[in-house]
């Protein structure tokens, strides 16, 4: 066995027994996680994304030793998460946005003191660390107030402090900013980034706020129905899924020539109430310049230009749709997983300045072999 400083997940599977009808009905197994492989190194924030029911929380609970896997292995710094659970628990902690995880009839300070005892934090360290953590989450002023008098956001902030009380080597974050005010959520993101960058903490993050994932995560795994769909940096995922920038160009005096210019790029056109026309083009490259120039050269007057960057949300939705299609397809027991090679996000310059013919690839055609190859998409399991 080789000693590694990372969380290594191999072939992870989790089946839950469920009864369809009452407590005496036949018991069936529901597969929540199906053959996942993950690598979560120290010093990096790794994202785990998917739609509801994708298996994210189940995966995190297995990594936190709360659930036992049905098959596969989870190793944390070489320690088995099942056989060496107690040693693993000293190295990890979990912050779950949807769960309270603190005692309401204790003060914030008392909560941190008690959890410090459970993690065997030395007395002198605990006193200092409690103060630092309360300060970090902005609860110093309410440290001696009972938690039942806290707002939901304050309780969540205390739960975050609880998750850091043992200075974990690996921090598992399941929707950590759920219900937090924007400034506190921003501060938490800063803390998480600092933990990874300066303390070398390995962080696994699930969040429905994809901007948060995009800001923090160096690497993202996308899963659907418990299965691996894709992985890569947020930029790589966006590029590989054909998640396009959207250019919206308003032409105040549209003519046949301007329409032809727009059509040559494969853009859609929409007549506006004032007689103008809205030209919309979605493309992975930066096509705002060429499109504007073409319309302008065709004699059109530009009334407005709006460029919307490709979003990670689009990429996830595309991947999830592909995953569902793969699951629904005949004989497709497992959807093709996608690994995006490092560097794929910096798509070839020629793609960005592609000729108008290239732009006629319809949005969502990311599964086309030629485009997949151009974006560095590799079929098969990671």
């Amino acid at each position: 066995m080789t000693m590694t400083t990372a969380i290594e997940v191999r072939g992870l599977r989790k089946d839950f027994p469920v009864r369809e009808k009452g407590i005496l009905g036949p018991r069936t197994l529901k597969r929540a996680v199906d053959g996942l492989d993950l690598d979560i190194p120290r010093g990096r924030v790794t994202g785990l994304l998917g739609l509801n029911g994708a298996g994210k929380t189940t995966t995190i609970k297995i990594l936190a030793t709360l659930l036992r896997p049905s098959a596969g292995t989870v190793r944390i710094d070489g320690l088995d998460a099942v056989a060496d659970a107690r040693a693993v628990r000293r190295r990890i902690n979990l912050i779950a946005g949807g769960e309270r995880m603190v005692y309401t009839r204790m003060t914030g300070r008392e909560n941190l003191w008690y959890f410090g005892q459970l993690y065997d934090v030395p007395k002198a360290d605990l006193r200092r660390r409690t103060g630092e953590l309360l300060d970090l989450v902005g609860l110093s002023g309410a440290a001696d107030t009972m938690v039942e008098r806290y707002s939901r956001g304050m309780t969540q902030r205390l739960a975050i402090a609880r998750g850091l009380v043992n200075r974990p080597d690996y921090l598992l974050l399941d929707e950590p900013t759920l219900g937090l005010d924007a400034p506190i959520a921003r501060d938490l993101r800063r803390v998480v980034a600092d933990l990874a960058a300066h303390d070398g903490t390995g962080v696994l993050l699930t969040s429905h706020y994809l901007a948060e994932v995009e800001e923090l995560c160096g690497h993202v795994y996308v899963i659907s129905a418990g299965r691996h769909l894709a992985q890569g940096s947020p930029a790589e995922l966006k590029a590989a899924t054909g998640s396009h920038r959207t250019v919206r160009l308003t032409v105040t005096d549209p003519t046949e020539r301007t329409r032809a210019a727009a059509d040559a790029f494969g853009a859609t056109r929409e007549t506006l109430p004032d007689g103008g026309e809205l030209i919309t083009l979605r493309h992975p490259g930066d096509m705002a310049g060429p499109l504007t120039a073409a319309v302008f050269e065709a004699g059109g007057s530009i009334g407005g230009l709006e460029i919307a960057e490709a979003s990670l949300e689009d990429a996830i939705l595309t991947l999830a749709e592909r995953g569902e299609a793969g699951l629904a397809g005949p004989g497709s027991g497992r959807p093709d997983a996608t690994t995006i090679r490092p560097g794929a996000a910096t798509a070839p310059p020629e793609a960005a300045t592609a000729p108008p013919e290239a732009a006629t690839v319809p949005p969502g055609a990311g599964t086309a072999p030629s485009e997949a190859a151009a974006a560095g998409v590799k079929g098969g399991t990671p």
């Binding site: 936190a64 659930l67 769960e99 008392e110």
Partner: protein, 267 residues
Amino acid sequence: MPIAWATAWRTWQMTRRAYPWTYAVGTVLPAALTIALAHLGFHVIGGGAVGDDFAAGSGTTAYLAYIVVGTTAFHFAVRLILWSAKALITEQRQGTLGALLIAPAGRLPYLLGFTGFAVLSSVLEFLTLGLVVAALGITVPVSSVPGALLGALALIAAVFALSVGLGGLMIAAGEAHISQNTVFIMLGLVGGFTFPRDYLPEPVRWFAELLPTTSAMDVLHGSFTGGQSLPELLPRLAVCAALTCAHLFLGLTCLPRAEARAVERTY
């Protein structure tokens, strides 16, 4: 034992804040009423005398003293079970079970801390029963003070051992009322608290022997109203110790599975 101490302190603080001191009245009242009703029945119906079968089974004719010891012990056991066995399901209900389970702390010191708090608070509550007993003019003889102390410790340990397994059952099933009340009824019926087990059918008596509380009660009754000395009590103490260890081992072995089941049930 920092975890046990921290848990006892934490539970003390939380309970103090959650319940007014008058809550203890509700705890002691059922035991006081049981003793008062036994007093009434003994004098009004029984004419102040016990039958030969009771004397033969219990080893005493001091019926009311027997009832005082048995009732106090039974309600004390119920209180301990309500605290110790329900510790984990209470964590589950208040949303803190996950935070507890992912911590590296062992479950045994945690449960010991809970029980330590429960013993302290229950002893304080049940000391007030002495006032009721004194008001009714009941005297409780003690034949062996060391035996009585060891019997009390044996009862606490026996109830703790039963509570560990019961606590696991509660979180696995996600249910407390049916399981706890089943245990209370079972203990009250077969445990030899308030009447001699000779009244029970033979198979039930053997079943009762599997519970560590039964031998603990034999020690308690023997050292108060049974007129037994410490050496005479030691064999039953040994049985109690062995059964306590067996139940504790079984409970602690099954607890991780029960905890996993509890998490799976709410996935």
